[in-house]
């Protein structure tokens, strides 16, 4: 899908650790924007009551990219966002390390929170990524 919107879209699917500092430095926002909502999903030390050391994420990458772009397009129709950036790590992610980073920039707080939560909910419904706990 071609990104014909004026929204700044950034999507990275990577086996590398998520570098929040670098993502922060790369942020741009215009003077009309008043709200940045930022979410970090971090691997917890237990899954279904069992202690784990990591989670291995598997992705069907070509479809992941497409489905994220479908979600971005729908999100941009629903809310006046200026920027959406999302990084999902795949492969083995150790406990206490982030697997997901999302940032949404919009004029107002309510829009930014709603869009960010809608995007994560949508991801958990349609984006083909799977987890396997590592003991």
């Amino acid at each position: 899908m071609l990104n014909t919107s004026l929204v700044n879209r950034h999507l990275t699917i990577t086996t590398e650790p998520i570098d929040e500092g670098a993502l922060l430095c790369a942020r741009t926002m215009s003077v009309g924007m008043g709200a940045v909502v930022y979410f970090l999903g971090v691997v917890r030390g237990n899954e279904d009551g069992k202690t784990i050391s990591a989670i291995e994420y598997e992705a069907f990458e070509k479809m992941v990219t497409h489905q994220f772009n479908v979600l971005f397009a729908e999100m941009e129709k629903r809310w006046p966002i200026e920027s959406v950036r999302l990084v999902h790590r795949i492969g083995v992610v150790k406990v206490n390390e982030p697997s997901l980073w999302v940032e949404v920039i919009a004029p107002h707080r309510g829009e930014a929170f709603a869009a960010c939560q809608w995007l994560i909910d949508g991801m958990k419904r349609v984006v083909p990524i799977w987890k396997k706990p590592v003991a």
């Binding site: 999903g41 994420y57 598997e58 069907f60 070509k62 479809m63 990219t65 497409h66 489905q67 999902h88 697997s99 997901l100 994560i120 991801m123 958990k124 419904r125 349609v126 984006v127 083909p128 990524i129 799977w130 987890k131 396997k132």
Partner: protein
């Protein structure tokens, strides 16, 4: 026609393979392909209800009619994040 089928996550563990190629009559639907795969890999049957099916990079329903050369993927509910 020939259809390439990919399995992801624990469906891959149930079939013991990541990919198979199925030979099908023209106008076969996704549902018929799924039934044929469950015959070939009986362990898939237990996951029948929760299995998601895409053709290329789009989700498709059981009545979607397949075309020669399309790639089908079968996988369990997604769990990103």
């Amino acid at each position: 026609m020939e259809i390439s089928v990919h399995f992801y996550s624990y469906l891959k563990e149930l079939t013991g393979c990541a990919r198979t190629v199925e030979t099908l009559a023209a106008d076969t639907t996704v549902g018929v392909l799924h039934d044929q795969l469950m015959e070939k890999f009986p362990k898939l049957t237990a996951m029948k209800k929760s299995t998601l099916i895409s053709v290329g990079v789009e989700y498709q329903p059981r009545d979607y009619v397949l075309h020669d050369g399309e790639e089908v993927s079968l996988f369990p509910p997604v769990q990103g994040g």
